[in-house]
């Protein structure tokens, strides 16, 4: 499955790009699987996602839990806890 990933704040800085289109292996089913898969893609991903529990994810611009399946996702946002307001 091919999906558009977008990164924000220090996740974006550490990975070194604002986003990318990625082809994912069939073994990637949930958000948690996706984060684990990304850390295998290189040091920059490892540095951004080394503590997956703090990472927040949105599927099609809605917050998603780490055990949610990503099937059907057009866009997945990956970012740190939010600090607006």
């Amino acid at each position: 499955m091919s999906v558009k990933l977008v990164y924000f704040a220090w996740v974006r800085e550490r990975i070194g790009r604002p986003g990318e289109d990625l082809d994912l292996p069939a073994s990637v089913v949930t958000v948690r699987d996706l984060l684990a898969h990304l850390t295998t893609l290189g040091e920059e991903y490892e540095s951004a996602l080394q503590f997956p529990d703090v990472i927040r994810v949105a599927i099609n611009q809605e917050h998603a839990e780490h055990d949610e399946p990503i099937a059907g996702a057009r866009e997945i946002g990956i970012f740190p806890p939010m600090t607006g307001g």
Partner: protein
Amino acid sequence: MSIITPTIRVQSADFDLQAELTALTADHKNIGAVVTFTGLCRDEQGALSALELEHYPGMAEAEMFRIGELAIERFSLIGLTAIHRFGKIMPGENIVLVIAAAPHRQAAFDGANFVMDFLKTSAPFWKKEHAADGQQGDWVAAKDADDTARDKWR
């Protein structure tokens, strides 16, 4: 579903509190209470020269709209406006505006409070500090206290 639709904006430009207040209350004669909250950029006792606000375009508006609809429903608000700025913001400048209008004061206070608690923890914005010495500083860390403030509404 609420019949009242929240007014949501995400913008780099400043906002005008009085203009927003007038726009919100203009067509409603049953408003007895309006609470406005404005969040400003602090200089942290001179340590900061600016904050850089990053946001997730599209999702920021969508999430603020979802929060606004929840507040209108829960507190039976007559009107709600939420505006969040992005980009570089100097100490003393506005960051966020929430206006909640209701027939009575408690709903207006609670509505504005609720929206701010969820804005801070769920709306996709991130603050980066610029130090007074010109150095680019760190990303602001999320606070447990903000999660606690949000969880009191559960």
